[in-house]
Amino acid sequence: MAVRARTKSKTRRLAYLAAPYLVITAVLAAWEFAVRFNGIQPIFLPAPSSILKYLVVMILDGSLPYHLSITFLRIIAGFAVAGVTGIFVGVAMGMSRLAARLVDPWIAALYPLPKISLIPLLIIWLGTGETYKIVISAVTAFFPVAISTFSAIRQVDSGLIKAAKDLGAGVRQIQFKVVIPAALPGITSGLQLGMGVTIIMVVAAEMIGGSSDSGMGYLLIHAGQVMETEKVFAGLIALAIFGAVITGVQKRIDRLVAPWVEREH
């Protein structure tokens, strides 16, 4: 295998690199062809070229940037609330046995509940405004953040704590100079999980019956209701790219916050 890889010619290497793009192009071409010449109704499956056209139009008329930025702000708000409260509760549970005992039954009871089922209750309590969208996404994201933070703090190598103690550190110094930095990689991976569910919940909340007149969830549900399938596809593409960008930025921040961790990428 290794010998073959080494003797591989330049053109084969090029083919290897280009292969995924060729396949994507082929699929798109087949799609375009199938829609145009086999009479598939655009309201079921629009051609890639018309989706692209809609995408460009929606960017130029400002509707896509508008809805996307509103969704983005809601995600940031929900994520910030979940991040702060989740880290705080997770740290408290990790540092104090009493806090862990007090909080544990609540987490055990509420964590398995699908958070989306809380939407009717939250609408009764909060109405369908911004608060409800931020609360539903924050509540959902709180759990992975709090649980990851708690377990990261619990799993801190006891040898590091003993060593710090031996070098003269007191309880407070151990907590701030050893336990929290040692738990940072675990906390950031909890934040990544939290971001994932925040995106889902904000878009879902925006979709729920007339609760919104803005945001990507609204855009998608509204376009769907009037059978503007091209708009639906354009919205999905925008959301996919948006999600990938957020994940990429978050990974970069992780690397800045915890540069000592060996990562796969």
């Binding site: 190598d157 040898g159 590091l160 003993k162 060593a163 710090a164 103690k165 031996d166 070098l167 003269g168 550190a169 007191g170 110094q173 100079k177 050893v178 930095p181 040692a182 940072l184 915890a258 540069p259 000592w260 060996e262």
Partner: protein, 262 residues
Amino acid sequence: MDIVVENLVQVFGEAPREVLALDRVSHRFPSERFTCILGPSGCGKSTMAQIVGGIEPYTSGTVTVGSDGQPLGTHSVMVWQQLNLFPWRTVIDNVAFGLEIRGVAKPERNERARRLIASVGLRGFEQHRPPQLSGGMRQRVALARALIMERPVMLMDEPFAALDAQTKIVMQEELVRIYERSKRTILFVTHAIDEAILLGDEVVVMTARPGRIKEVIPIDLPRPRSQEMVNTPAFGRLYDRALHLIREEVLNAMKQQEAMVG
């Protein structure tokens, strides 16, 4: 600073499944001497070092380090088998950790850390983090982090056990050099006979569990010590004596394990 251990008993676990780890161990580790504790694995030698360092509580007996009545750990610092370096801190921040805790200002603690880093041969690696370093280099960081405390007693719990053979030889020579220059009281736990003889002024041989002191072998090899002494007849005689003692205990330990399994 003398370390005096009297009738030290350590019991792990609860009755009826308790394990007697140390059984009435008494010994005086002389001030400014290098004492090696040699024994088969599971004999309680690491436990003894941890107790002397105030890291582990003990069941009964008395342990005193120095004569000022300060709690254990005040005058000693531990070099750990697993090193326990802080991976998020750079080399210089690892080494300066103890001074930072003590509240020494940053310019001063960095200056002192830098000097120690240079003295263990790591100049230029101040801003690296432990995961970027080789095993031997990490070991040097751990040594510097302990040395900066300037405590009179240094406890070393099989610090070189995880190193490859060549790195180990270099580190042993480094430690000999540091000891001969700075005259600390060192308690060095090991299961390697040649290491114990090469480094120590005396070798305390322990029995298999429960740990007792089997024999104390004074090492009269001249200082400065060097790796070449391994080939001298005097070294050979000491090695044979220790080997004979240890072999008995390893066989005992194996018998105990077989008895537990069967």
